[in-house]
């Protein structure tokens, strides 16, 4: 018999289904990503109103279905309104939501990932010195939580300490290689000492501390591009929001 269950969830995305329904992808605390139908949500008199918009943290009651679950009831915990009210924050936030959506299969749960997204969205809605660093750190930390922790302290091949020297990030190996070991390897990104130090800091610091960090704009964009390539190599597919974010950083408004 189909059961009804309650979850705490963050809305990742929603897309249209037929005339008035939408399929909503929820990142739930206990069941990972769940795709569920919100019936009649597009009608102006819908009971859901703005409760199922991306970024919203909510308590949700769902009814299990054969293919898709159905959303029965919702209550907003935090709508993350400041993210929705700031164009830049919206772009960076969407990239975070897509990272979660593309990293997990439906109903796959990873410990600490749900609180990590909650904390990051809370930080993003406050004062952030450089959102590029926050997004880069989020991508790297999500990779680490899923099991692809970037190895940055020693050369992947010979085990030599690499601090202070130019290294190459091996996307397939998931860590750095030294100048002596890079020959014959594909998918390498050169990493200057400053970029390596920053990557280590992003992995070590918490999101609140990263939100007040500032580096040169060029280094911030470089580290964000590296984090994008690192996570996409791990996920084995490109994420669509990345190009929009990088374009925004490069050009700003049209």
């Amino acid at each position: 018999m189909a059961a009804t269950y309650k979850e705490k969830a963050i809305v990742l995305r929603a897309y249209d289904l037929g005339e008035a329904d939408r399929i909503v992808t929820l990142f739930t605390e206990g069941r990972g990503p769940v795709r569920a139908v919100a019936k009649g949500i597009k009608r102006t008199g819908s009971k859901f109103g703005a409760r199922l918009e991306p970024f919203t943290l909510l308590d949700v009651i769902l009814h299990e279905g054969r293919n898709l679950d159905t959303i029965v009831q919702t209550e907003i915990i935090n709508a993350h309104a400041p993210i929705r009210a700031d164009y830049g924050k919206y772009l960076f936030g969407e990239a975070m939501l897509e990272m979660i959506e593309k990293s997990l299969r439906e109903n796959q749960t990873i410990p600490r990932l749900f609180p990590a997204l909650c904390v990051t969205l809370d930080v993003l809605e406050g004062e952030v010195a450089d959102p590029s660093l926050l997004l880069a750190a989020f991508d790297l930390k999500v990779c680490a939580l899923i099991g692809y922790h970037p190895h940055l302290a020693q050369c992947l091949n010979c085990g030599r300490e690499t601090a202070g020297e130019k290294v190459w990030l091996n996307l397939i190996g998931g860590g750095v290689v030294c100048v002596n070991c890079r020959a014959g390897l594909d998918d390498l990104i050169p990493l200057a000492p400053a970029a390596l130090v920053l990557m280590n800091q992003l992995m070590a610091l918490d999101m609140a501390a990263i939100s007040s960090s500032r580096v040169s704009p060029a280094l911030a964009v470089e580290i964000l591009s590296i984090a994008f390539r690192f996570s996409e190599a791990f996920l084995e597919r490109p994420l669509r929001s990345r190009a929009v974010v990088l374009n925004y950083l490069e050009k700003g408004a049209l």
């Binding site: 995305r13 037929g18 005339e19 102006t44 008199g45 009971k47 859901f48 109103g49 703005a50 409760r51 918009e53 991306p54 970024f55 907003i76 709508a79 309104a81 929705r84 009210a85 700031d86 164009y87 919206y90 772009l91 969407e94 990239a95 939501l97 897509e98 959506e101 669509r240 929001s241 190009a243 929009v244 974010v245 374009n247 925004y248 408004a253 049209l254």
Partner: protein
């Protein structure tokens, strides 16, 4: 083979329509075979005519039958007032109100990074060109009141306000016939912010 080839083709083509499954396609196909031939031919002609003759207005990107759509050709409309919408269907909804006598601009969607849609994928550059050359005084942003529509509105406001024109957003709040008790916090909060003098 379940059907004769012409019926099988008709069912297959109908089932490609949005929201039409195999069963519904089958029902529609048999209905079309049952109605008078003239009625079925009229439907076929209407589809062909719409596909062949409907284009996009070169000015506002609404559906049009020639170079310009009916609104852009109407000299009684106020050309200094432009309402920006996501899709041509939204114009129909706004026209039903009978409250708006300006012109339109269809963006072709809303900014949605998760779908790979940035400002470059929309007709924002064309809007900017219209504002610069057509003496527009006010742009009303009437994108859908979803996260994507709001973000598009913010982007347009950032872009257009330095050009010294008025940029407004359609109001959002409680639906007529609704009940306060069941309103969500975001909608109710907006209704309060946008309250009117009585």
């Amino acid at each position: 083979m379940l059907y004769t080839p012409p019926i099988a083709r008709l069912v297959e083509e109908l089932s490609k329509l949005p929201g039409v499954g195999q069963k519904t396609a089958q029902r529609l196909a048999f209905h079309l075979l049952k109605v008078p031939a003239a009625e079925a031919h009229s439907l076929a002609e209407a589809i062909v005519e719409a596909r062949d003759r409907v284009t996009f207005c070169v000015r506002c990107f609404n559906f049009a039958q020639g170079e310009l759509c009916e609104y852009c050709m109407d000299s009684r409309r106020d050309p200094t007032l432009v309402c920006v919408v996501e899709r041509p269907q939204d114009i129909v909804a706004l026209e039903r109100t009978g409250e708006f006598r300006g012109l339109y601009h269809v963006l072709g969607g809303a900014i949605s990074p998760i779908d790979g849609i940035g400002p470059e994928e929309l007709r924002i550059r064309e809007l900017l060109e219209r504002v610069r050359t057509e003496g527009i005084r006010e742009v009303i942003v009437a994108t859908n009141p979803r996260v994507e529509g709001e973000a598009t509105g913010l982007y347009l406001a950032n872009l257009l306000k330095p050009l010294d024109i008025k940029v407004t957003r359609i109001a959002s709040g409680l639906p007529v016939g609704g009940d306060l008790e069941y309103a969500d916090e975001v909608t109710l909060g907006r209704a309060l912010k946008g309250r009117l003098d009585l």
